[in-house]
Amino acid sequence: MSCHLRHMLGIEPLTREDISFILEQSRPFQEIQKHSLKKLATLRGKTVALAFFESSTRTRISFGTAASRLGADSMNLQAESSSLRKGESLIDTVKTLDAMKPDCIVMRHASSGAPHFVQQHLQIPVINAGDGTHEHPTQALLDALTILDRKGRLEKLNVTIIGDILHSRVARSNIQLLGKFGARFTLCGPAMWLPRELESLAPLGSTIRRTAIVEDAVRDADIVMVLRVQQERLHEPALPLEDYVLLYQLTPARLRLAPPDAIVMHPGPMIRGLEIDPAVADGPQSCVLDQVTNGLAVRMALLFLLIGGSHDEVKEALHAAD
């Protein structure tokens, strides 16, 4: 089953079939991570532009490595050294990159909707590596691949997400993805980060309930996703961290309230001792390292799918029977 993927702006527009296809296409790339020689020439000659307007180490390195393992080159734009500091608009920055003819652009930006805006101005595929508080589709895909490996299925899982849900693009993308497979979500965190409108995010066939009590949230969970706590947030008084640790840190005792086969996930980077107890982060239920490896596989698969072929109509090659 194939899908005509042109961009990866978010999970919301994808169907279950699209998602299953991408995950299935990620399998050979998981395999490759086990070879001693991990480099392919599949995308040799292609260039991936990495435009990270919000600073990020892990995601940028993951995409860069994915490109390089497929034999592609990358162009690197980093927020710290970017011309945006000098007042250049997003559209001019992106058009400058585009003039150097990359085959696709991977972008992360602090404004929700920035990749949608950029995609209207460019011909090449755009991959969203995180836009504001809207979506982080590759994170949800790598989370799904991890869940598939550990749980054997994506259907009808009990998924608990703990943290600042309101401002989390990781939470939104995961809700979109697992929701399409009928998940039952429990969102947990301090009340100001858990508005009632979050309940309307659930895709058809899935449910969302909210609770401020973490002990209640983890009961019956198949998956416990812990989100990062952002200490400084614009326009809002910061939450006292001691309060957060007291009420929401995922400790071994709290994890024991969940079924013994529940898995613990974190999009990273983790702050040990803040949102997650080190014993849990390093424990047998934790999948964080698998998430990272799968991140590479998923991103390689996406690059392969988006720029591996040609998007022009082609006559069937006579060699096709080869």
Binding site: S111, S112, G113, F117, P195, E197, S200, L201
Partner: protein
């Protein structure tokens, strides 16, 4: 002399709704009656059309002085004429802010030279609209302002609002407040609700507006002054205004066409042509506003025409400035959303564009012998499509580009002259 023949005259002041001819002589309406003959007059055949007193827009931004790349008095008033407006009240958030008599005079001089319709400036409440010291309101009144506002922003504090309302009460000027509690709205770019949560955009809760409206209502009670709510957008605010009126307070309000037409659900694909302040609200709010327009709780329709050049709107949603244009689509939207749907009568609609704003300004606007020869001629049936590219405004930031309408302005007459016709 201009003779408007065969039209259907609608005048809310006298409640006239009849097939009558109207003869204009210079700046005054000379005669109204059936079958008028006038040999020297230019004839305008208004068969099938409605002839109303000239429309007034209580709230718009002409951007001159200081931002002429977005709009000028000349281009803005041309667009206003195409919308059927004979008079527009321009807000003071120009560069420099209209906070003293010389800026006011400058605007009026420019209007005398280049405007297609009457320009009635609104003066700032505070110097620079900074919310600290009072602006030169009395001097501006002499120069010709018709109201006071710090629009663009709310009047900065309750204490300042009290001072301004006391002062303006003694001067006979209404105070128009852009009602917004900025601590609640800070950083917000659209209405807080399921759509903002889904799109990952920071939201502005409805109570950011209604809290400021409540403030204004109580200060109106304290001072006895006239408090006018600019661009009212949510049902909580409307309930407060309704209750204030029932209590005999001098509280009035206006609603913009986009707020009784669109909702936050219309914002798709992060399109900045749907970004304005106050933002598009929920369906319940929209329906409440329509009820308020019908039952008299809302005094008038005002466009809040806010032009922006293409480059400033062609950015990420977060960064785009608030505002959309509105002169040329206002009447058509009102006809479509309010009259064709039978929510209110044509006479009431005309009132919302004429006697409603006139009452806020403390003037009269009627189609009567001796009154000013400002008329708006429109059709409730003419089918047309609005194209932003054809707009007389310098700016194209409208969500209604390509919209098909039934009914719209057909001719605008100011001071006895046709300044625009379709």
């Amino acid at each position: 002399m201009l003779l408007i023949k065969n039209g259907r005259v609608l005048d809310p002041t006298s409640r006239t709704d009849a097939a009558l001819d109207v003869l204009l002589d210079g700046e005054r309406i000379a005669q109204i009656g059936a079958g008028i003959r006038a040999e020297d007059a230019e004839i305008f055949d208004a068969s099938g059309l409605i002839v109303a007193p000239g429309f007034i827009d209580l709230h718009c931004h002409l951007r001159e002085p200081g931002e002429e790349h977005k709009e000028t008095i000349e281009s803005g008033t041309r667009a206003a004429a195409r919308g059927g407006f004979t008079a527009v009240c321009c807000m003071p958030n120009t560069k420099p802010v209209n906070d003293n008599a010389s800026v006011t005079r400058g605007i009026l001089e420019r209007a005398a030279a280049a405007a297609s319709v009457r320009v009635w400036p609104i003066g700032a409440a505070s110097l620079g609209s900074k919310g600290e010291a009072l602006a030169e309101i009395a001097a501006m009144k002499v120069a010709g302002i018709v109201a006071v506002s710090d629009d663009g922003r709310p009047i900065a504090s309750a204490k300042l609002l009290r001072q301004v309302m006391d002062y303006c009460n003694s001067l006979g000027l209404p105070v128009m407040d852009h009602c917004e509690d900025t601590s609640l709205s800070a950083g917000g770019v659209m209405r807080e609700g399921p759509t903002s949560v889904r799109m990952g955009l920071r939201g502005i809760p409805a109570c950011a507006e209604s809290i400021a409206v409540a403030r204004g209502v109580q200060i109106a009670e304290l001072t006895g002054g006239h408090f006018h709510v600019a661009h009212l957008s949510c049902r909580e605010s409307l309930d407060l205004v309704r209750a204030a009126k029932a209590n005999g307070l001098r509280v009035t309000c206006e609603v913009s066409p986009h707020h009784f037409t669109l909702t936050d659900e219309h914002i798709t694909g992060y399109d900045t042509r749907f970004k304005m302040n106050p933002p598009l609200a929920s369906r319940a709010d929209r329906d409440a506003l329509i009820t308020g327009l019908a039952d008299g709780s809302v005094d008038c329709i005002a466009t809040d025409h806010a032009p922006h050049d293409a480059a400033s709107k062609d950015v990420e949603f977060d960064k785009a400035p608030f505002g959309i244009t509105g002169f040329e689509t206002a009447l058509a939207l009102a006809l479509g959303k309010l009259v064709h749907t039978k929510k209110l009568e044509l006479m009431r609609l005309v009132g919302l564009f004429t006697t409603g704003p006139a009452k806020v300004l403390g003037i009269s606007r009627s189609l009567a012998e001796g009154a000013a020869a400002d008329l708006t001629v429109f059709s409730s049936e003419h089918e047309w499509t609005f194209r932003a590219a054809d707009s007389a405004s310098k700016s194209r930031n409208t969500p209604f580009d390509g919209a098909a309408f039934v009914g719209g302005p057909m001719a605008t007459i100011v001071s006895g002259k046709i300044v625009w016709k379709r």
